[in-house]
């Protein structure tokens, strides 16, 4: 399922943050960058939301974009019923490498977005407790691959945040 961000008047285009002089942080779902949602790669479409919002920011205090990864942003994580523990995951090394590669591609898209406005990037894995280790490892591998490509020369990966649902 791919969200159509531009249907019915493109409501987000009404968002203008030019008057917000105290704005420091923008938090967005990682799925709004590069189409992680459903693993459909439509970077030209999916990056426009964030590009538009960033282009309107005038606050001198602004410095941070938090990309929030949910369970559904990871191929190897099955969104569980909220009342039960996450299911057992069976991912091969090759599948995990493919997933890390996908996230690396997403970081490349973020680099393009970064050209609109300077910001520090914060990666936030907001997943089930049992999935934190996996999701963080995949993101770390994606970051390592992106660093090897020089993607992170363009902006500073500020910090990581982990929020665990359902207990560790």
């Amino acid at each position: 399922m791919q969200a159509n961000h531009f249907a019915a008047g493109s409501a987000f285009l009404n968002i203008n943050l030019s008057r917000h002089k105290s704005l420091r942080t923008l938090e967005v779902p990682a799925s709004c960058v590069h189409g992680v949602f459903g693993f459909n790669e439509l970077p030209d479409i999916d990056s426009r939301f964030l590009k538009h919002v960033l282009s309107t920011i005038r606050a001198p205090t602004f410095f941070e974009v938090v990309a929030i990864y949910r369970d559904c942003d990871f191929r190897g994580v099955t969104t569980p019923d909220l009342q039960i523990k996450p299911p057992v995951r069976r991912m091969s090394q090759a599948d995990r490498a493919m997933e890390a590669s996908y996230h690396c591609a997403q970081f490349r898209a973020l680099r393009e977005i970064h050209k609109v406005r300077d910001f520090r990037l914060v990666l936030c894995a907001d997943v089930w407790g049992g999935e934190v280790e996996y999701s963080v490892r995949v993101l770390e591998e994606g970051v390592a691959a992106a660093k090897a490509e020089g993607v992170f020369d363009f902006f500073f990966l500020n910090r990581w945040l982990f929020t665990a649902r359902g207990g560790l």
Binding site: M1, A3, N4, H5, A11, F12, N14, I15, N16, L17, R19, H20, K21, S22, L23, R24, T25, L26, E27, V28, P29, S31, C32, F37, D46, F49, V53, T61, I68, R70, D71, C72, T79, L82, D126, T163, R165, G166
Partner: protein
């Protein structure tokens, strides 16, 4: 703020309290979200945005974000 569709409610709140001064807004599936954003132009420090309502909704068990009242002006 989740699944709020009434613009009139916002106008009533703004009128009742003489403005709104949130420092943190998390706007999921909120109709006319730009009204909320504009209303907090003086105080907003952190904004969580969703491109469409088709994004994964916030989980209640997560308690990641709440609306926080800013200091009185």
């Amino acid at each position: 703020m989740t699944s709020t569709s009434s613009v009139d409610l916002l106008k009533d709140v703004v009128h009742l309290f003489g403005g709104i001064r949130f420092r943190y807004l998390d706007l999921f599936n909120v109709a006319k979200e730009w009204l909320w954003i504009d209303a907090c132009a003086e105080t907003l420090e952190t904004l969580r945005l969703y491109p469409t309502s088709e994004q994964t909704p916030p989980q209640k068990v997560c308690k990641l974000t709440t609306l926080q009242l800013g200091p009185p002006s």
